[in-house]
C-alpha cells in the first residue's frame, strides 16, 4: 500500500511533454517519448482489403510503415490531405506506425497533476481512446492512449 501511494505521488509530480496536434477541431496530445518523428510523406500506397482506418503504407527509410487515419478512428469523416497534414510516427510494439493528423501544433510541457480523467464520451468519441484531459487557456487538450487507439484499430472491422 505504501509503495502504491508513493507511486501515485511520483506520477503526480511528473512533468509531461506532449506533442500536440489537431484532428478536426480536436486538440490531441501524445507523450513525446512515444513519438518517433513527424513527417509529411503523404504519398501512401493503398492496401487492398485493409480496414477503413488504414490509410496505406509508406517507405520509412527502408521500412514499411502502416499509416492510420486518425480521423477515421475517431469517427470523423475521412481526412482530406492538405498542406498541413502530417504523419506522426509512433513506435508501438516494435513497429513504427504513422498517424495521419490534420495539423501539428506545439510541444507542451504540462504537469501531470493538471490531468483529469477523460469523460466516457468526448464530442461523440469513445472515451476509452483517451488517457486524460488538460484544460488549457482556450481549449481542451486530450491525450491519446496510443495503444488503445492502435488496438481498437486492429479489432475494428
Amino acid at each position: 500500500m505504501a509503495t502504491a501511494q508513493l507511486d501515485e505521488q511520483d506520477v503526480e509530480a511528473e512533468e509531461l511533454q506532449l506533442a500536440t496536434f489537431y484532428v478536426g477541431d480536436m486538440l490531441l496530445g501524445i507523450d513525446i517519448r512515444q513519438v518517433q518523428e513527424i513527417n509529411r510523406q503523404l504519398a501512401v500506397t493503398d492496401v487492398p482489403h485493409s480496414s477503413t482506418h488504414v490509410r496505406g503504407v509508406i517507405n520509412l527509410r527502408g521500412d514499411v510503415a502502416t499509416v492510420i487515419d486518425l480521423r477515421s478512428i475517431l469517427g470523423f469523416p475521412s481526412a482530406e490531405v492538405t498542406r498541413q497534414s502530417r504523419n506522426l510516427i509512433v513506435h508501438s510494439q516494435g513497429e513504427s506506425i504513422g498517424f495521419l493528423v490534420d495539423r501539428i501544433s506545439d510541444i507542451l510541457t504540462l504537469n501531470s497533476s493538471e490531468i483529469s480523467q477523460p469523460p466516457t464520451n468526448i464530442e461523440g468519441v469513445d472515451g476509452s481512446l483517451f488517457k486524460g484531459v488538460f484544460k488549457l487557456e482556450k481549449e481542451l487538450l486530450i491525450t491519446l492512449d496510443v495503444e488503445a487507439v492502435l488496438a481498437g484499430k486492429s479489432s475494428a472491422p
Partner: protein, 921 residues
C-alpha cells in the same frame, strides 16, 4: 549417432560453459544480493545443455545439468541464497559437466552420482516448501523423443520468456535505477518507447503469445559463418568502399563518362555482396534431417513397427529461416508416416511386403526451389474412406464426394478439421492437423502435395523457396498501384491482342476464363480482386471489353499455386526485379491477398501479392474442379466440332466441318477440265463439279499449285468438290464463332485458331451460290393452303447451332421453336402452347440431355412425336442408347440435306392424309 549433431552440441555446450567458472564466482561474491540477470544467464546455458543432452540421449550429462539447473532456478527465484559451500559444489559439478561434454562418447558410462547427491542435498536443505512448483521432467523422460521435442519447445518458450523478462527488467533498470517505481516506468526518450508501453506482464500472457508465434522464439540469434564467406564479404566491402570513392570523385569532378563504368561496377559488387550475405544464411537441410533417424527409431519401436529410414540430399542448402520453420511440419509428417502409413509387421506380412517398412526422406533442388519428399511404402491412403469421413463430417456433400477424383480425395487430408488418424493416439491426432502443416508451408511460400496408392504407400512432396529474404518478382501495375508477384508463382505471361479477346476469353457461369492451349484457365482482374474498383456486372464488363480492348492489348499473368492455376489480368507489366521482402505491420497483416511489401527503386512501396491468398479469396476452383467444369462446358455450352482447316490464299484461313465432308481427294491441276464455264473433275467415269472459294465468297485468289485437294461433299444428291490448295490440320474446335465480322453468304462465322483468323465455311451455301439452279431440284415441302407447315421443336444448347439449324429448316418452309436445353424444351412441350409435329434435339445439353428428353417424350402423351437426334458425330453406343429411349433417327448437325430429308420423312408421315410430296430427282 550423427557426428555432425554431436559436434554442434559440443561446440554449443562449450560456449555455454565457457564463462561459467567466473559467473559462478560472481554469484558467490554478490551473496544474498542476487544478481538475477547473471543467474539467469547461467541457468539458460545449463538448461540448453540439459535439453540438448536429453535429445541426444546423453542421460548422464542431462542428469547432472538438471541438478545444476535446479539450484540455479532456486537462486533466481530467491529461494536460495548462494554461499561458498554451494558454489564450491556447483563449480566442481560444472567442471565435471565440462569434462563429460568433451568426452561425450563415454559420457553415458560416467558416474555422476556423487555430484547429483551433493546438489540434491543443497536443494533439499534450503527449501522448506516443495522445491519446485512445476516439477521438471526427469532426465529419463527426456530420452523419449516425442517428449523431448515437446520439452524442447517448452524449453524454448521458457527461455524466451526468461530472456524477455530479463531484457525488460534490464531496460527498466537502466532507465530507472529505483526498481520500485513500477507504476509508470520512465524510459529515456531515445530508448525504445515500447518499454514504457509494455509493463512487465504476467508470464502466462507472454507465453501464450510466444507460442502462437514460434518463429520468433528461437533464443539463438547468432549464426556460424565459415571464415571463407566472411573473408569474401570483407573483400567485397572493400570493393564497395572503393566504388563509392570513385563515385564521389566522379560526381565531384562532374565526369559524366566515368559514371557508367562506376555504375556497372557498383551493380556487380552489390550483387556479389547480396549473394555472399545470402550464403551466410544458407544452412544444410541435414541439420533438420539429422534428428529424424532417432525419431523414426524411437517411434517405430514404441508403436511396435519396424521402419528403416533412408535420407538423401542432406547437403541441400536453404535459408536459415526456412530450416527453422520447416522443422516442425517435417516432424509432423514423418510421425504421421510411421503412425498411419507404415503397417504393423503382421499386417505387412499379410500384404506380402517386407516386414520392415521403408521410408525415404529426400531433398533436392528443383527449378530454383527445394523439393522435399517423404515417402513410405505403407498402407497408403484410401480415398473412399476419406470421402466417407468427409461426408460424415459435413465437409463435403455426398454428391460432391461422388464426383471427386481419387487424387483430389487424398488431398482431403489437408482440409481443416480432418484428422487422418482413425483413432487419436499420443503420437498424432493431437490437434495439429495436416492443415496446419499445409498452412505453415504455404506461409513460407511453399506447397505440399500428396500422392498415395492404397496398399503401396504414400508420397508427400513439399516444395519450398530457397530463401525468403530476397525473391525475384515481377512488378505489375493495375490502376495507379504497383504490385510484386513472386516469380515462383508465375507460369507464363499471355498477351492478347484486342481481336483475340473475343475468342480467347470466354465465360463459364459468371466467371471469365482464358483458353490457353486447349485448357480453360479461370481469369481474374486484379483491380477487382483487390477491390480497387467495384466489381462490374457482366454486362458492363462486356461493353467495357469491347470498348477499350479495341485499342489496347490485355496482359494476363498465368500464376499457379500448388492447387490452382489461373490468369490475372493487369494493366501493365514492369520489370522483373529482385525485391527485398519487408514485413507488413500488424494492422494489415491479415489482408488475404498480400504476403508482404517491398520498396522499389524509386522509393515507393509496392505490396507483394500472395497468389494462394488471392486464389482463396476469389474462390478459384482447384485444377481438378476446373477440369470437370471444362468437360461439362465443352460437352454442353461450348460444343466442339471436328474441323478441317485449310488455306486458300496463303494468308487466308478457312475451316469446314468434318461431318459433312464425304472424302478428300488429292488431284493434279491438269485434271481439272473447264466445261461450259464450269470447272469439273473427271471422276470414276462421271464428272464432279468443282468450286473455288474466290468465286463464291470474298476471298483472295488461290495460289496456283500443281497439286491440290478437293474437299468432297454431297449436296442435293450430287458430289461436289471444293478446291483447297493447302490443307492444314484437323482439329477439335470449340464452336464459339464471331458471326458478325465476316458475315456473308457461305460463311458461318469466324474464330481465331492457332493465332489465325479462320473463317468457317458453309459448304451447302457455297454450293448454293455457285449453282443456284440445283436448289430447284431439291425437295420442297408442299403444304396445302389451309394447313400450317409442320412445327418443329428444336432443343439445342449451342446458340450457334440453334441458329444454324433454325435457319436451315425454316428455309425449307418449316416453323421452328428453339429451346436452350432439354428441360426448357420439355417444359415448352408440356405447356401445350404449341402443337408440335416433330422434335429435333441435341444429345449433349445441360440440365436435361437429349436421351432423357426423348425418353420422357416417348413415355408421355406425346409418344407419337418423332424425335430426331442431332449429334456432332454419332457413335454407335450413342445410337444404341438412342434407340432404347425411342429416338427415331440420328442426324449429323452440319449435314443439312440429310436432316431435311429425315425431317420430311417423319413430318410427312405424321401430318396424316396430306403427305408432303418429296420431289427428289
Amino acid at each position: 549417432m550423427d557426428d555432425e549433431l554431436l559436434n554442434d552440441f559440443i561446440v554449443e555446450a562449450n560456449e555455454h560453459m565457457g564463462d561459467i567458472e567466473n559467473q559462478l564466482l560472481s554469484i558467490e561474491e554478490s551473496g544474498a544480493d542476487i544478481d538475477v540477470d547473471l543467474v539467469n544467464e547461467v541457468f539458460r546455458g545449463i538448461h540448453s545443455i540439459k535439453g540438448a543432452a536429453g535429445f541426444l540421449g546423453m542421460t548422464i550429462i542431462g542428469e547432472l545439468a538438471h541438478n545444476l539447473e535446479n539450484i540455479l532456478n532456486m537462486m533466481r527465484n530467491h529461494e536460495l541464497v548462494p554461499n561458498s559451500g554451494m558454489i564450491d559444489v556447483m563449480l566442481r559439478a560444472a567442471d565435471r559437466l565440462q569434462g563429460l561434454i568433451n568426452d561425450i562418447q563415454n559420457s553415458n558410462e560416467a558416474d555422476v552420482s556423487e555430484f547429483v547427491a551433493e546438489l540434491e542435498k543443497i536443494a533439499q536443505e534450503n527449501t522448506e516448501a516443495p522445491a519446485e512448483p512445476t516439477p521438471e521432467p526427469t532426465p529419463v523422460a527426456q530420452a523419449e523423443p516425442e517428449l523431448s521435442e515437446d520439452e524442447e519447445l517448452d524449453r524454448q518458450i521458457e527461455e524466451a520468456i526468461a530472456a524477455k523478462l530479463v531484457e525488460t527488467k534490464a531496460k527498466k533498470e537502466a532507465a530507472q535505477p529505483e526498481p520500485k517505481q513500477e507504476a509508470e516506468p520512465k524510459a529515456e526518450v531515445t530508448a525504445e518507447p515500447k518499454v514504457a508501453q509494455a509493463p512487465v506482464k504476467p508470464a502466462p500472457v507472454k507465453k501464450a503469445k510466444e507460442k502462437s508465434d514460434k518463429k520468433q522464439v528461437g533464443p539463438e540469434a547468432s549464426i556460424r559463418v565459415s571464415i571463407g564467406v566472411l573473408d569474401k564479404l570483407m573483400n567485397l566491402a572493400g570493393e564497395l568502399v572503393l566504388s563509392r570513392n570513385q563515385l564521389m570523385q566522379a560526381v565531384a569532378s562532374d565526369e559524366k563518362g566515368a559514371l557508367d563504368t562506376i555504375a556497372s561496377r557498383l551493380d556487380q559488387v552489390t550483387s556479389e555482396v547480396q549473394e555472399s550475405i545470402m550464403q551466410t544464411r544458407m544452412q544444410q537441410i541435414g541439420s533438420v534431417f539429422g534428428k529424424f533417424p532417432r525419431i523414426v527409431r524411437d517411434l517405430s519401436s514404441k508403436l511396435e513397427k519396424q521402419c528403416d529410414l533412408k535420407i538423401e540430399g542432406k547437403e541441400v542448402e536453404v535459408d536459415k529461416t526456412i530450416i527453422e520453420a520447416i522443422s516442425d511440419p517435417l516432424t509432423h509428417l514423418v510421425r504421421n508416416s510411421i503412425d498411419h502409413g507404415v503397417e504393423s509387421p503382421a499386417d505387412r506380412k499379410l500384404a506380402g511386403k517386407p516386414i520392415e517398412g521403408s521410408m525415404n526422406l529426400r531433398a533436392c533442388y528443383q527449378a530454383g526451389k527445394v523439393r522435399i519428399e517423404i515417402e513410405d511404402d505403407g498402407a497408403g491412403i484410401d480415398p473412399n474412406k476419406l470421402k466417407e469421413k468427409a461426408v460424415s463430417k459435413g465437409i463435403l456433400t455426398a454428391e460432391k464426394a461422388e464426383q471427386m477424383s481419387d487424387r483430389e480425395a487424398v488431398r482431403l487430408i489437408f482440409h481443416p478439421g480432418f484428422s487422418m488418424a482413425a483413432k487419436v493416439t499420443d503420437v498424432s491426432g493431437r490437434g495439429v492437423g495436416m492443415d496446419v502443416v499445409r498452412t505453415n508451408i504455404a506461409k513460407l511460400g511453399g506447397t505440399v502435395d500428396v500422392e498415395s496408392v492404397v496398399g503401396e504407400g504414400t508420397n508427400i512432396v513439399i516444395t519450398l523457396p530457397l530463401t525468403l529474404a530476397i525473391i525475384p518478382s515481377l512488378i505489375v501495375q493495375t490502376k495507379d498501384d504497383r504490385f510484386a508477384i513472386p516469380q515462383v508463382n508465375i507460369a507464363e505471361l499471355v498477351r492478347l491482342r484486342p481481336r483475340e479477346i473475343e475468342t480467347r476469353v470466354g465465360r463459364i457461369k459468371d466467371a471469365e476464363v482464358l483458353r490457353l492451349r486447349g485448357d480453360l484457365l479461370p481469369l481474374i482482374r486484379l483491380e477487382e480482386a483487390l477491390e480497387m474498383v467495384s466489381p462490374k456486372s457482366s454486362e458492363e464488363k462486356k461493353t467495357e471489353k469491347t470498348d477499350h480492348n479495341t485499342y489496347k492489348a490485355t496482359n494476363i499473368i498465368v500464376v499457379e499455386t500448388g492447387q490452382q492455376r489461373f490468369g490475372v489480368i493487369v494493366d501493365a507489366l514492369h520489370d522483373s526485379e529482385e525485391i527485398v521482402v519487408k514485413p507488413l505491420g500488424r494492422h494489415i497483416q491479415d489482408c488475404p491477398c498480400l504476403s508482404g511489401a517491398t520498396i522499389l527503386g524509386d522509393g515507393h512501396v509496392a505490396l507483394i501479392l500472395d497468389v494462394a491468398g488471392i486464389a482463396a479469396h476469389e474462390k478459384i476452383p482447384s485444377n481438378e474442379e476446373l477440369n470437370k467444369e471444362k468437360e461439362n462446358s465443352t460437352a454442353s455450352q461450348e460444343e466442339s466440332q471436328q474441323m478441317l482447316l485449310f488455306s486458300n490464299h496463303a494468308e487466308e484461313h478457312f475451316a469446314v466441318s468434318m461431318d459433312v465432308i464425304s472424302r478428300i481427294d488429292r488431284i493434279r491441276a491438269d485434271q481439272i477440265d473447264s466445261v461450259g464455264g464450269q470447272e469439273v473433275l473427271q471422276y470414276r467415269n462421271s464428272t464432279m463439279s468443282l468450286l473455288r472459294l474466290e468465286n463464291c465468297i470474298t476471298a483472295k485468289t488461290a495460289d496456283s499449285k500443281e497439286r491440290l485437294y478437293a474437299i468432297v461433299f454431297e449436296v442435293a444428291g450430287k458430289e461436289v468438290g471444293l478446291l483447297a490448295p493447302c490443307l492444314k490440320d484437323i482439329q477439335d474446335v470449340i464452336m464459339n464463332f464471331d458471326t458478325v465480322t465476316f458475315r456473308e453468304r457461305g460463311i458461318l462465322g469466324s474464330l481465331v485458331l492457332n493465332e489465325k483468323t479462320t473463317r468457317f465455311v458453309d459448304l451447302f451455301e457455297l454450293a448454293d451460290i455457285a449453282h443456284p439452279e440445283w436448289r430447284d431440284d431439291e425437295e420442297v415441302l408442299v403444304v396445302e393452303e389451309d394447313e400450317q407447315p409442320p412445327l418443329v421443336l428444336l432443343a439445342e444448347d449451342s446458340a450457334f447451332f440453334r441458329k444454324q439449324v433454325t435457319s436451315m429448316i425454316t428455309e425449307r418452309g418449316y416453323r421452328v421453336v428453339g429451346c436452350e436445353d432439354g428441360l426448357i424444351a420439355w417444359e415448352t412441350l408440356q405447356s401445350g402452347e404449341h402443337d408440335f409435329d416433330i422434335v429435333v434435339t441435341d444429345i449433349e445439353m445441360p440440365n436435361m440431355d437429349g436421351f432423357e428428353f426423348a425418353g420422357r417424350i416417348k413415355e408421355s402423351q406425346w409418344s407419337h412425336l418423332p424425335v430426331i437426334a442431332l449429334t456432332s458425330l454419332a457413335g454407335s453406343a450413342d445410337i444404341q442408347r438412342g434407340i432404347e429411349v425411342g429416338i427415331d433417327d440420328y442426324q449429323i448437325k452440319m449435314d443439312r440435306d440429310k436432316l431435311i430429308n429425315s425431317l420430311q420423312n417423319f413430318a410427312g408421315s405424321k401430318t396424316g392424309n396430306n403427305t408432303p410430296v418429296l420431289q427428289t430427282n
